[in-house]
């Protein structure tokens, strides 16, 4: 019964970053070059590095790692002529639950990332770049390492890139399994060979980043977009998105939809439109709750399905665009259980550096277990909100803030579900046996 999407909605598909994925051998440099590969780099080096930075500002391009920080501005923060080495660190730690856009990009179009890295390094005058790839992403790392070797053999990397007198070395560095290492300063500590724990800011990475040197940290998608933007121009990139949200975004649909997957569209498409592209909800499922950008973004409901998915509109609706990881749940899924499972995740991934997050997530896990096993009390709901109060804005990094999203938003929209467990109208989802060791 999947009805075909209307022509109007179909026309919202805007394959730019995902287009080469259709060419199964685009990960090889020869194929990549036939598909416009490295043309943007040749174009970029005709300009002064300062001009590239000004251009990136003009393009309105914003970071794809979750916070939407303007890319050109970040590059401009790097002090020039300071006599220090500069670094570019690509955040390829993709671990935010729901997020699954960077891995396919690195597997299927690794050279677009490498080309973006070279342009970025040329602009900020960095001679070394590190790609911090999450350890588990082995096929992505494999294709990236190969891409680096191919690019070096062709003179795009190494000494005297394209005969332009600058040197660049790229190292693919595999992590070892820790969500917190996606937080940019924890990532730097990890890359320096320490436990991945966030650093106090200021000083900011732009002046004191990797090895206390000026460092740009950008997400995979932020950097892989750069060659496209350079080729198409700032006005073209802006024309693809909406106000304050230039360009395309890879929307990752997962869960109770007929055809889950990656749908690249201009910023500002709505969930309803995306659902139309994805063939609608799975049979027998009705939309109940969803996240616009991963588990750290407050969940929304069916009422929000027409909100434009861009930074400002989603913020107005009380959530965060995050990584555009749209996890879609139905009337057969329980928002209390979903939140519980995410809190278990945050408790497990908390780095332990600050008390609100280390203790708060631990306590919330226990409270959720109690509620879901039918032994919860009304005070438990206050305890959850109290714990969130202590976390939000009081934790040392974004992990602690992010953990509160599912709790407060599910309590806001689905308090009745909590009460149904507490007041015995709903069969416990966890049994007492699960609680052994939990009390």
């Amino acid at each position: 019964m999947a009805s075909a999407p209307s022509a109007e909605v179909l026309s919202k598909l805007t394959p730019v970053l995902t287009k080469r994925w259709l060419s199964p051998e685009a990960w090889k440099i020869d194929v990549y070059e036939q598909l416009d590969g490295y043309a943007a780099l040749r174009k970029a080096v005709e300009y002064h590095p300062d001009e590239i930075i000004a251009f990136m500002k003009e393009s309105g391009h914003r970071g794809r790692g979750g916070a939407g920080f303007p890319v050109g501005m970040k590059w401009a923060f790097i002090p020039q002529n300071d006599g220090k080495p500069h670094y570019l660190v690509v955040n390829a730690d993709e671990g935010e639950p729901g997020t699954c856009k960077d891995l396919p990009l690195m597997m299927n179009d690794p050279h677009s990332l490498i080309e973006g890295i070279i342009i970025a390094c040329y602009a900020v005058r960095a001679e070394r770049a590190y790609v911090y790839v999450r350890g588990e992403a082995v096929h992505a790392a494999r294709r990236l390492r190969n891409a680096v070797e191919e690019a070096r053999a062709k003179g795009y990397l190494g000494r005297n890139v394209l005969g332009r007198g600058f040197d660049l070395d790229v190292v693919i560095h595999s992590g070892a399994g820790a969500y917190i290492c996606g937080e940019e300063t924890a990532l730097l500590d990890s890359l320096e060979g320490f436990r991945g724990q966030p650093r106090l800011r200021p000083p900011f990475p732009a002046t004191h980043g990797l090895y206390a040197s000026p460092t740009v940290i950008n997400n995979v998608g932020s950097i892989a977009s750069v060659p496209h933007i350079v080729l198409g121009g700032a006005d073209w990139w802006k024309s693809l998105g909406s106000e304050n949200a230039a360009g395309t975004m890879i929307y990752s649909l997962s869960g109770r939809v007929k055809n889950p997957g990656q749908y690249e569209c201009g910023m500002g498409i709505t969930l309803n439109e995306l659902l139309e592209l994805a063939g609608g909800m799975a049979d027998g499922h009705n939309l109940r709750f969803w996240t616009p950008g991963g588990s750290s973004t407050p969940m929304l409901t069916a009422e929000h399905a027409d909100v434009p998915l861009d930074f400002d509109s989603i913020a107005k609706a009380g959530s965060i665009l995050g990584t555009t990881a749209m996890m879609i749940f139905s009337d057969q899924d329980c928002p209390v259980y979903a939140s519980y499972r995410w809190i278990v995740f945050y408790a497990h991934e908390s780095c332990g550096k600050c008390t609100p997050c280390r203790e708060g997530n631990y306590w919330m896990t226990r409270v959720y277990r109690r509620i879901l096993s039918g032994r919860g009390t009304h005070e438990d709901l206050d305890t959850l909100l109290d714990a969130c109060d202590n976390l939000l804005g009081r934790s040392f990094c974004g992990l602690g803030d992010g953990a509160t999203s599912c709790v407060t938003s599910s309590l806001k929209y689905f308090k009745q579900d909590y009460l149904d467990y507490i007041e015995g109208r709903r069969k416990p989802l966890l049994n007492a046996a699960d609680l052994v060791g939990a009390h």
Binding site: N146, I250, Q262, S295
Partner: protein, 229 residues
Amino acid sequence: MAYSEELREQARQIMARYPEGRQRSALLPMLHLVQSHDGYVTPEGIALCAEMIGITKAQVAAVSTFYTMYKREPTGDFLVSVCTNTMCDVMGGQRVYDTLKEYLGVDHDETTADGKITLEHAECLAACDYAPVMTVNYEFYDRVTPDSALGTVEALQKGERPAPTRGARLCTLKEMSRQLAGWSEDRAEALADNSLGDATLAGARMAADNGVTAPQIDPATPLVKKENS
């Protein structure tokens, strides 16, 4: 455990990837390297990292225990990881995990008596569009069911190496750890092994099938307006 000169040389190569005086950056790859030799992080492996980088064993251990991919006990040839984070759980991942746990008779982070298979439940593996997912030595088996997962594990036990849905043909966990330490894939076919699936291509294919493209670009568009001087 005595380490060969060859392994020490590999450790030196890892250290050379980082700037002079920043050799501690080599620690994570070096821990992967000692796992490629020992199958887990042994006291000897910790000592080697400490000695070569010039930090204390306690400093190395503090790092190795922080990360889930460094194992504290011997592992099997194949690490089977089942995602049980929310999306995979809701889509059936917990049932997959429970099925394997019962069949193998081991729980999280444990290895079968024959030393072949280590089981673990994992957090989100960045493949939610294929939920529920399982990996073997970190290669993806997409949209698994209890039956399909069981089939994969049974095949592993028989000495077969069932092909992943996305990812390279299987090697052993130790061999994979070598790649994690930063070495390139030396099997040309493995590099080319499948990385695509219907969910990856959902939007791109739909656009292509319907003749929808992004607005044309003109690669000659100048990046900045140059003043005519």
